[in-house]
Amino acid sequence: MALDSGDTAWVLASTAMVMLMTPGVGLFYGGLVRSKTVVSMIGLSFLAFALASVQWIVFGYSLAFGPDIGGIIGGLDFLGLSGVGIESAPLAATIPHLLYMAFQLVFAAVTLAILTSAVAERIKLSSFIVLALLWTTLVYDPLAHWVWAGGWLAKLGALDFAGGTVVHISSGFSALALAIVIGRRTGFGSYVMEPHNIPMSMIGAGLLWFGWFGFNAGSALTAGGLAASAFVVTNTSAAAGALAWLAASWMKGKPSALGMVSGGIAGLVAITPAAGYVDAVSSLIIGAAAGVLCYTALLFRVSRGLDESLDAWAVHGMGGLWGAIATGIFASPAVNAYSGLLYGDVGQFVAQVLAAAVSVVYAFGVTYLLARAVDSVMGLRVSEDEEYVGLDIATHGEKAYA
């Protein structure tokens, strides 16, 4: 099949939009930390993006999307992008292979950026670099292969339209493991660590919402009805998530504006795996449930004294988990060729639960081991004094605001 300029135009734009999500994550996170670590926090997102970009070009894409080897991993045929050219992509016939690769690249990058939640305000930069490269290679690349490139989860029939398992469960549950290994910030629990700049987080959320249209509707890989449908359910779920979290926080006390935008993100996360399979009414439910669920997960996380600082687990992990399962419930044959529980296909539901469970276990387990390994070899944390002074000055020698 020949390349289509319309499809290519949309995926080009989508790739750029997804790229913008990484600074979006940086700003969202940066607003939530204290002013003495905001440069570090935003910097980690940029760094994640740069590291993943290079890794992907050199060998990551090949591991994830190279010719399947036993359902486990991709072959090294695409090393250094050899064989990845302007011809039609193997998995997207109407766009250039290079573009498909780039679209997948920005997904890998933003996933790594989400993970930085767990190490906010205390990570040692050199250790982050090592850990990031290990993680994206050993956690992200295999998962992407299993789910999207003909790996064993795909063969099981598990659906993941735009990354509920690969991106959100994987980053969220990895963040949980990482937070457990690196331990709490000094003083966590003994005094309040307020967000230093909520408007900054809201700018970040705005960019995320925007970029997510590229993420989900771009995952159609064509500019047509499926993209339109994914676009609509994405927005609907986000809106429902925002309203639900707002309402839930209101019932607990006061309506939180930061909660509202977090709920928007929760809705976006949850619809991600389902975006190409469900209709708008279902997306209302998926989003609203995500808002309440992720808010509850956050409260639970805090009540357990767990310092997974910026709630990648509560929002991305739990939201992604719900979304993966919800796909197995709400997938509608009127939208795409798949049916969920509601439309009578128990098998699909089971496949979703299985794939989600595998992702949870794999991401959590491998990340835990990697984090322990890096910690014992080079130490994950900065010294207590450096943490007290703040990473901006201690690590980067920079002050955010003069």
């Binding site: 003495k36 003083g187 003994s190 005094y191 309040v192 010294s383 004094d385 450096e386 007290y388 002074v389 000055i393 201690a394 020698g397």
Partner: protein, 109 residues
Amino acid sequence: MMKIEAIIRPERQEQVKKALEEKGFVAMTMSEVLGRGEQKGIKLQYRGGTLDVDLLPKLKIEMIVGDDEAETVMKTICDAARTGKFGDGRIFVLPVAMSGKVRTGEVER
């Protein structure tokens, strides 16, 4: 009357406020300042070199209290603000000549 000026760690704000409230001292004025003590702040090691981070963020608390209350307030703040590490802060007491209340216009000497 006396003016208490306490320079404490920002992260001890809640403890200090609570301790003062318990003793009945509510009124106060606060501001963010930067400070360093005799230690010249914190020394960080990096790659063989060291970096002095002087001028760390501190919280300044100002309170006008009766002459006889000054020592109680001092002690209360000291106890609540202490972590035992360098940088815990200082408290100074200055004499006040007069004091006025804007709302009522009354003046006290």
